[in-house]
């Protein structure tokens, strides 16, 4: 019998299906490891070992039945941690918020149904910035996630918990969500892989909405092949999500190792390589790009004149959508209701929302409410929507000119220290500069490790591809990974 520790998810599934790895051993091993480690980095909003193992038992029966029926389950016996904004029927779903501290989900998200059907084990609920609003995980009502590489530093956000559990080998895979970089940036900060698929490639049904036109469920892994494996499970049309893409997705795993990078044209964005970019990050980024060139890729430079507007455009559109999406959290049907005798309805709403939401969430709701108000809509929201179209067109024009991929650093710095930016919203927002464009344009993007800075903190590189070109994205990262294993294999000491 094999030990499941540090095995790729694809290997766990394969060994489970051929009987050389017992699913109960995998479940027990990772449950013990998560039990030991989850508090160290505050990675979970909910970890209940017994409940997880109870649920795993049902999946083991299912896996056995599939084996006897000679059906292959792509994620048989693979533990997957779930970000706390994705619904699992009967489980708590707090979205990192005190407001939903007692909220139990009444239904499964579409991605959860797919994971269950694929034979996966659902392995706890990971910590996140409240309502996915944040870039450092310091906005969680349950305390910040600490970076496994250095616990004085942030794990990134908003999917910080999911990035950290993969980095610390508590699970081989984790689900996250990405509205402006919430998968890619923590992946970069924690030294793992993170994929934000094309908008509409993976169903959003069951994801607590933040900015609905930007939100995308994606995931974390340690291997490109695992990233591809999970994408192939999750992708596909969903009749419950009107924004999900109707066409059948192209599987990415079968073509992962095909060909080479010869002839692949990668664009560097000149506007992104100046002010604000950390010197060490820049050096590693340039080194990584040199590796890509060595692998046969052709590098070109492009200008994206409107890309600088990404951050204001994002913070108008995302907060506008957030202000309407979060209106349902009014304390009437679920969540916190703060009510004192004699209060009228308006006072109950005000009190509940004032006490239930954290500072950043309130700030964004108020921003969003402001930009949608009568008399301001045209100046802010409508203008931002037009600018978003320009940015989208600009990116599409680059791809139309024969460029296959656009490469940027994932973040301008490595993981910063806890508390360093908590009182400067603007500095925090500026950190999203490289990741936001992919959400505005709805295109797929991933972050992969490219090394470490002088403090031993991981650095990530972002690749963006045209819509529904996940296969190109993953194949390119795979070729890089094959030649640069050590950058991917190094583990934090916890």
């Amino acid at each position: 019998m094999r030990e499941p520790f540090q095995l790729p998810a694809r290997e766990i599934a394969r060994l489970t299906m051929d009987g050389s790895l017992k699913p109960e051993d995998t479940a027990n091993f990772y449950a013990r490891r998560t039990e030991d480690l989850h508090q160290v980095c505050n990675t979970h909003t909910l970890w209940d070992k017994d409940a997880v193992l109870n649920e795993a038992e049902k999946q083991i029966d299912y896996i056995q039945a599939a084996r006897y029926a000679h059906k292959s389950l792509p994620l048989a016996g693979v533990p997957i941690a779930i970000k706390d904004n994705i619904m699992v029927e009967g489980q708590m779903a707090t979205c990192g918020s005190r407001f939903l501290r007692n909220h139990r989900s009444a239904y499964d998200a579409t991605v959860i149904q797919k994971l269950k059907a694929a034979g996966a084990f659902l392995f706890g609920r990971t910590n996140m910035d409240e309502f996915a609003m944040g870039s450092s995980n310091e906005n969680s009502s349950y305390g910040p996630v600490l970076n496994p590489w250095n616990r004085r530093h942030v794990a990134g956000g908003s999917s910080g918990g999911s990035a950290a559990v993969v980095a610390a080998d508590m699970v081989p895979l984790a689900l996250g969500s990405d509205t402006g970089g919430s998968i890619r940036q923590p992946a970069s900060f924690c030294g793992v892989l993170g994929l934000k698929p094309t908008y509409g490639a993976v169903s959003r049904y069951g994801l607590i909405a933040y900015g609905s036109s930007l939100d995308q469920i994606g995931h974390f892994a340690r291997r490109v092949e695992d990233l591809a494996l999970l994408f192939d499970v999750l992708a596909g049309p969903d009749h419950l999500d009107s924004t999900s893409h109707r066409g059948a997705p192209t599987p990415t795993l079968p073509t992962l190792a095909q060909g080479s990078l010869l002839g692949t044209k990668i664009a560097l964005v000149r506007d992104f390589l100046g002010e604000g970019l950390d010197g060490e990050v820049r050096a590693h980024f340039e080194a990584a790009m040199a590796r890509y060139r060595e692998l046969g890729a052709e590098l070109v430079e492009v200008n994206l004149p409107h890309i600088k507007a990404s951050i204001p455009v994002y913070y108008i559109i995302a907060t506008a959508e957030a202000s309407t999406n979060l209106a349902r959290f009014d304390g009437i049907r679920y969540g916190v209701r703060v009510q004192k005798p004699g209060q009228n309805l308006r006072e109950v709403y005000t009190q509940s929302r004032s006490e239930g939401f954290g500072r950043e969430v309130k700030q964004r709701i108020m921003l969003g409410t402001y930009v949608l108000s009568a008399g301001y809509y045209d100046a802010y929201y409508a203008q931002a929507a037009r600018m978003r179209e320009l940015i989208k067109r600009e990116l599409n024009a680059v791809f139309a000119s024969g460029v296959h991929l656009i490469a940027t650093p994932t973040a301008p710095t490595t993981a910063f220290e806890l508390g360093q930016k908590t009182h400067d919203s603007l500095a925090m927002y500026l950190g999203d500069i490289y990741t936001i464009a992919a959400n505005l344009a709805g295109i797929p993007a991933l972050s992969h490790p490219i090394g470490f800075d002088g403090k031993g903190l991981p650095i990530g590189l972002q690749l963006m591809a045209p819509a529904f070109q996940e296969a190109t994205l993953l194949r390119s990262a795979y070729h890089y990974e094959q030649q640069n294993q050590p950058q991917f294999d190094k583990r934090p000491r916890i």
Partner: protein, 498 residues
Amino acid sequence: MNSKTSHNSTSDLGFEGLLNRYEPVIGLEVHCQLKTESKLFCACKTNFGALANQNTCPVCLGLPGVLPVLNHQAVDYAIAMALAVGAVIREKSVFARKQYFYPDLPKGYQITQYDLPYCEAGRLRLDTGKEIVIQRIHMEEDAGKSIHGDNASYVDLNRAGIPLLEIVSAPELSGPQEAYDYLKKLRAIARYLDISDGNLEEGSFRCDANVSLRPLGSQAFGVRTEIKNLNSFKNVERAITYEIFRQADILESGGLVKQVTLLFDAASGRTQVMRSKEDSPDYRYVPDPDLGLLYLSQERVAQVKSRIPELPEGKSLRFQTEFGLTEADARQLTEEKELAAYFEALVAAVQGKVTAKIVANWILSEYLREHNTRHWTWGQQDLSVEAFAELLGLLGDGTISGKIAKSVFEEMVESGARAPAIIHSKGLVQITDKDEIKAMVQRVLEAYPEQIEQYRSGKHKVFGFLVGQVLKASQGRYNPGLVNDCLKEALHEPAKKD
């Protein structure tokens, strides 16, 4: 509490007098509930009268993480309505979120259409021939229902997410009667299309009225008020009439009408201020990112068009030309789709034994009276077309007289028996035996020598009396025409002898 309190300054003017000084300008916003199988954005049922919160799911409960999916049956119904009023259908329209907090609005916003509705610029012709412009029609979801009582409030979300059409008229209706007619016509169309029950009392057809007055001859609009909660045709008329009086009072005393939203209280017959313009909420409309553009192709519109049935106006014209009905009769018969269908079925079933005109008379008088007083529902405890046709056939072939037929009709409705059985058991068959009638005429004339003299001296009025006596003696069974003939013959005979 006296609900009939009159208004001081315009009471002497009266409504008609008032209209000599002011022109009322009225626009109606109608919310028409579509009778789709499921809700607008989820698969929940829409049936009326389910247990509280029975017809709900995560989507219409607005639980975190859910997404709306548009019901295409509702869209087809909406297209049908647009086509029926000759409106322009927008190829690409947008769903928007209208935001406000209320416990029966689970998401904190209502999904509706705002600046880009699917339909604009329709029109509706009133009986008077006046055309009213329909500015726009849009689709939206209904909110739930709040029930207040015993120190607590309850929310029932069965209604949340039921599809509505909001149909907005231009401010072109000039009085309560026109408003009433407009509403009736609109409702008839919705019912003909079979897209709504059009029931005001159950709330499947709801109406808000915008009312303003302007001095006769003026072009500028006066300040308008909006009246909500008009849940019957009668209340629409009452509320608008009241509001016209109220505004006229203000204007007559030199005051200014305030732009307010009013609630009509059916019990007192008055309007109450719900909120002023200053309190009017900012709904912060924003395109709903969960739905994207609604694209209505010409093919789809054409497909819906091919399924649109004959509508009241066309049917009424056809009834006039095909059956020779008067405009008034044809219009009344086509007000309800089922009534028109019943009429046509009956005309077919009588197989020419009576004219369509007679069928129309019978339906509009006898049948409708029973239908209304007995609260018949179409197609249920109704009098069957076959039974009715049988009766009219017996009338047409002279078996029974019109008078007898009416009493047989009542008996049929009362007992459920068929006409021949009633006629047989009560011996009501018309007597056409001329000898028998002649003999009875002789007997009656013997009893009234005085009247015979009167008749012969030129007072022909007594003829009717004598006919009546003969018919009475036969208990109505003699053929009235034959009685006439025989009586005339008998009265003229002695004169010949002279």
